[in-house]
């Protein structure tokens, strides 16, 4: 076979530079979605196993961030659209094959649910709070009596939302970096870790922090394992996959990925959490901020890098 010396490719100045169709909105959307999924999952989990009293920050106060995060996430999704006046088309159909459709619908269900969840705890936070309308009162009473059942549904939806943030990318066969089945679980675990870290920051109880700290540590270890797994899978794959992996193993994203995501975003906070667990006093804000920034950078890098990778012909 002759070596290809020169491929003119195409040069369409109005098209080719814009094939990077996803910009800052999508990573932020994925980050907020993952964060919300993480907070909701553990709020629901500890409700289901009856630990509302011990884990107040997880079950109650942390969730107050969720409606804001989800609404902001939906706004990001909207800003990303190029034909915005037709955005309601998302909700005139359900497409099982399309991750984008799944995400739009899950958000449509989980966002009002998070509002209800938060509203039902509002009176505990502000005792003199009065709802204007009678029907809100009765709706919230219904939520309180059925909280367990709602928590089960919310847990399932949180998992779908968390996995979806990864599957949105991994469903694209044409972008070899994204196209691996571990990306869904990886984004879910990463989102849960950011959620748990945030709640840990809000918690005032020592024992709750310890529990959350150990959960977060476990999540970080699983995440590191998944990332290793992802690169091993790509290195064992076809040429385009090897090239995709090489972006992180010597290519242009090597430094940003290993320094900001792996070391500062995962390994270092994990070490701090271990130190905290064995009794050292660590200001909780440090590992939490590192985890949050690491999670955000991770999504920016994955979205950017994935759009560079492509099939060659």
């Amino acid at each position: 076979m002759k070596e290809e010396l020169f491929v003119s490719g195409r040069e369409i100045p109005n098209i080719d530079p814009f094939l990077h169709i996803w910009h800052w909105q999508i990573p932020i959307y994925l980050f907020l979605g993952g964060l919300a999924a993480g907070i909701l999952f553990f709020a629901a989990l500890f409700t289901v196993i009856g630990k509302e009293k011990e884990m107040t920050a997880t079950v109650k106060w942390g969730t107050f961030l969720v409606p804001g995060a989800l609404v902001l996430g939906l706004l990001m999704l909207f800003l990303d659209l190029k034909h915005q006046m037709f955005f309601w088309r998302l909700y005139t159909t359900i497409r099982m094959d399309s991750p984008m459709s799944w995400g739009a619908w899950v958000l449509m269900i989980i966002t009002p649910m998070s509002f209800l969840w938060v509203a039902s705890y509002l009176k505990e936070l502000v005792p003199e709070w009065k709802w204007k309308y009678k029907w809100i009162e009765s709706l919230l009473e219904w939520v309180e009596t059925n909280r367990r059942a709602i928590a089960w549904v919310m847990m399932a939806l949180a998992v779908i939302l968390g996995i979806y943030t990864g599957i949105l990318l991994s469903a694209f066969n044409a972008r070899p970096l994204w196209n691996n089945a571990i990306l869904g679980p990886l984004f879910m675990v990463s989102g849960m870790s950011t959620g748990v870290a945030t709640v840990m920051w809000m918690s005032k109880s020592h024992s709750e922090r310890r529990i959350l700290g150990s959960i977060d540590l476990l999540l970080i270890i699983v995440e590191l394992f998944f990332i290793t797994h992802m690169f091993m899978g790509m290195r064992a794959g076809s040429e385009v996959m090897i090239q995709a992996a090489d972006l992180f193993l010597g290519g242009q994203f090597t430094v940003s990925f290993w320094v900001f995501v792996i070391i500062l975003g995962l390994v270092f906070p994990a070490i701090l959490e271990v130190l905290e667990l064995i009794g050292y006093k660590i200001p909780i804000a440090i590992p939490v901020i590192l985890i949050l920034v690491g999670g955000l950078v991770f999504r920016f890098i994955m979205v950017e890098a994935g759009q560079i990778t492509r099939y060659l012909y």
């Binding site: 002759k2 003119s8 195409r10 169709i21 190029k82 497409r95 984008m100």
Partner: protein, 177 residues
Amino acid sequence: MRYAMAIDTKKCVGCSDCVVACQTENNVPIGYCRDWVTETVAGSYPNVEIELRTERCNHCDNSPCVRCCPTGASHIVDGGVVLVTPEECIGCGACIQSCPYDARYSHPDGYVDKCTFCNHRVIRGEQPACVAVCPTKCMYFGDLDDPNSDVSNALKNRKYKALAPEAGTKPHIFYLI
């Protein structure tokens, strides 16, 4: 019925008439295009080979762009032609990400646009604009299921390839080599 195109890389001279014909026929905004010509030079003197290819949407059988579309704007019509309905498209860009051939682009009006195989001409029994205009007649269009169509005949007698078949989308633009 299954429409397909066969393109003779030995006859193409890279004049880009097909590109201009498409822009004119389909009112493609200035600076954009639905088809394009690439050139590959391989080997070294005196054993140099040049391959010229006019490329466009492959109207794939296993089309990821249709599957990932959240609204159904991207859809398949008779003959396996992949189309986009502008009034249903939200411009989410998922289909642009999903296409291994970068055959789609974001129209300045917001929706996503691409080659239609000149469906409006084909249903009138005409050839797509690019095929009709080619001065070297290097493109053959027609129904693959009909053994006597132009495209079936072209593929019968020559060796051919498809681009990036490993992407698994079952493309339907074939290059005679």
